[in-house]
Symmetry: C2
């Protein structure tokens, strides 16, 4: 049995849903289908989820909801019409939305969650109706009935262990199960959503629950590339990589899969495949437990900008037990997470994503580090990028760090930070944002171009 | 005016003290002399400080102290005899020790401090008597009278700001001031010692107080070498380096100067010179604020073994605000300080000096990280070494990291950790202890041998 998850662009229109149906039909192992809410049909189009957010805002502020409600229903109606489905499914969806609008608005977060989740929920109903209409018997599965149980507020929604037992029942059905992504229910029956993009998580939980032979994640790209095609011309396709490599690449913008989606499949040892709804013949990128690293020690290079560094120096800092802990406490008080902490003997730097900072926060942090930690010097600099070299071969090939630093030296750019040593599969360079692209290209040339020639 | 500090081997015997006198006599600017307790005269000899520790132990356990006391007095008596000094100085020293033995033993730490400090104190009295006897009018200066005020227990003794004002009076004396190193007095008049090796600190405080033109630290080596002569054959001598470079080199065993001794001189902009009592003609190593880096971007390479790494991995760790802080809190609860924290996306390693760990501590740490932080994996590995490349040029020359990693790659050894980015003057490599020496030699070859040929 395979679990297939189709993203927003894959269920955005009748044309796309016909591709989905063909994919499901082609392989009888595809018994569980997880769907997102309809996404964009073209660049300027609006995603159903964004339309639902507008509907929520209107409802919460007491405005007339008829226009935004109509817009959502219309999106489904267009798809249903083009697929030749009867009026019934559209009426079901409209009634569902009206019922959700009557829900308690006291807790705005929960009201928002249940209305946003309708995007995936109604998408699943529509897809089940369509598959059935073309002779592929399919049932919409309600996550509450199926037992996708999640934790309650104020935590971020995450599946509880019992979900896996409950959902394993899905491998004993004789019709195709169409399951809405993105949400579950607490033990008390309250709907809670995952983070945006969380349909990937639903698919992974289902794949783990039924011990699927594979979790296929259908998107609108053929595969994961070895570098961002926006920065590097025609990067090579990654045919196969390990879970760890995928995870380290996600560090800096390889946003093919939601961060939380890897773990359920990984723990259940279900291989994951990234495929393209628009080009299903392409073999895609397989994510597995182990791979042969002999001809490709580096699997990919990611880069991300928008980092700042908090530099702190204090004479004899290294002897002061508790210094680092107190510094991190100050950041925690500002609700700031950090990426790396390179350190010298009397100084350390904390690498932070800049979006977490503001002039007020920076001033408070500097003030506290000076006054509470008696630092000799404190300052914050921004406009840094992180370039991350990822590969299972990182740990065994001594020459890799040398090749990488040589490549960066060739660009004439300075290396502001090097971090290696905890992850066995990544090597991180901190560089000035202005140098990011040329460094990324030179590293790509060093580790991938020779391979292309062969 | 120059402040000269003479270490234990420089005041260990009459022969050595004659060298000291010649050095003091040679330059009339040498107006303040700071002395350690007599050290070893030959490899198997016992330092006076160690003899005093035995005396303390006997006194505290209520044993007969006559034998250990006699041993200490005898050491001074031999020196005094060979210098042709009268009996008086030896009687003064003996009376002083007997008086100290009568002090209150309730607080063992303070009793120990005041007895240990007699090593330096009586050394200063002896040196003052000797200099005077050969026509160099000199006075023993009592740190209490002179106002070297330090903080009280339970902190580590450190000079309070008023000391600098008090001690500045020493530049208005017309005899040579001989000042005992290693201790001061609290505002309440209680004797407190610095850390072992703390005579260097006393000298630096005095040099800063009198705004000396130079602080000369006389040891038994000609200079600071670019690498440890025990690991690298005939390393080059460092003629000049900056305070920051000296500080970063102290990371890993360049133990020429006590850690805390650099700051007073640095803050008062007093240049520091490391010189050899046994070879005063040698120009030594000058430690200054700035140097020309054009022909020597790397000034030295230090290496130290005895490091362990605590590895912790947890899925989505990087999103969890407070994870690093909680981990450091667990180490702090065990009174453990750390050196570096390299990190990947879902994992981090804490580099710790192994002597701080024990099987019990390791078990408690692993248990707590698993149970309190819900880590997926925790383990501790040992037998690591840190190799540190130090140089003011580190920040401006991109090629340095490439040259260093290339050199390590040539040895065939693996790089376990790279840390660069906070200090502008150092680049740290974590390697297996077994590879330390070959890496150190290859790095030395890369950065210094070409210079020797020129």
């Amino acid at each position: 049995m395979k679990v297939c998850k189709f993203g927003g662009t894959s269920v955005a229109s009748a044309k796309q849903l016909k591709k989905v149906a063909a994919i499901v039909k082609e392989d009888p192992a595809r018994q569980i289908v997880v769907v997102s809410a309809p996404g964009k049909r073209y660049e300027e189009d609006e995603k159903v989820t964004d339309m639902l957010i507008k509907l929520v805002q209107a409802a919460l502020s007491g405005e007339d909801v008829s226009h935004p409600l109509e817009a959502v229903v219309e999106r489904y109606a267009i798809i249903a019409g083009e697929l030749g489905l009867g009026k019934e499914i559209v009426e079901t969806i409209e009634a569902d939305l009206e019922k959700r609008l009557q829900e308690d608005k006291q807790n705005a977060a929960l009201f928002t969650d249940q209305l946003k989740a309708s995007g995936e929920d109604n998408s699943a109903k529509l897809v089940a109706a369509y598959l059935t209409s073309i002779g592929l018997p399919a049932s919409y599965i309600n996550p509450k009935d199926a037992g996708l149980v999640v934790n309650g507020l104020p935590d971020r929604a995450q599946a509880l262990p019992e979900s896996y037992t409950n959902l394993s029942a899905l491998n004993r059905r004789d019709t195709i199960s169409v399951f809405p992504g993105f949400f579950g229910y607490t033990r008390e029956g309250v709907l809670r959503t995952f983070e945006r993009g969380g349909s990937d998580i639903t698919g992974s939980i289902l794949a783990a629950s039924v011990k699927a032979e594979m979790y296929e994640n259908f998107t609108d790209v053929d595969c994961v590339f070895a570098a961002n095609p926006r920065s590097v011309e025609n990067p090579v396709e990654i045919e196969q990589m390990t879970y760890r490599e995928m995870r380290e690449l996600s560090y800096a913008g390889f946003a093919v899969l939601h961060d939380e989606a890897l773990m359920p499949a990984y723990k259940a040892a279900v291989p994951l495949c990234i495929k393209n709804t628009n080009n299903p013949k392409s073999s895609g990128t397989m994510i597995v437990a182990e791979r042969d690293i002999s001809n490709r020690p580096v699997i990919g290079i990611s880069a991300d900008s928008g980092f700042s560094t908090l530099y702190v120096s204090k004479y004899l800092m290294n002897r002061e037990i508790g210094f680092g802990r107190k510094l991190l406490q100050i950041l925690e008080d500002e609700q700031i997470s950090y990426e790396h902490i390179p350190s010298g003997i009397d100084n350390l730097s904390v690498i932070i994503r800049s979006h977490q900072l503001s002039p007020e926060k920076e001033a408070r942090i500097i003030e506290r580090v000076k006054n509470e930690l008696y630092a000799d010097d404190v300052h914050i600099r921004s406009e840094f990028s992180m370039v991350v070299l990822v590969g299972e071969g990182m740990n065994n090939s001594t020459g890799l760090a040398a090749r990488a630093t040589d490549a960066i030296a060739r660009t004439g750019a300075n290396i502001e930070m090097i971090n290696q040593g905890s992850s066995e599969v990544s090597l991180v360079f901190g560089v000035l944002k202005k140098d990011e692209k040329k460094i990324l290209n030179e590293l790509y040339k060093e580790f991938f171009e020779a391979a292309i020639v062969v």
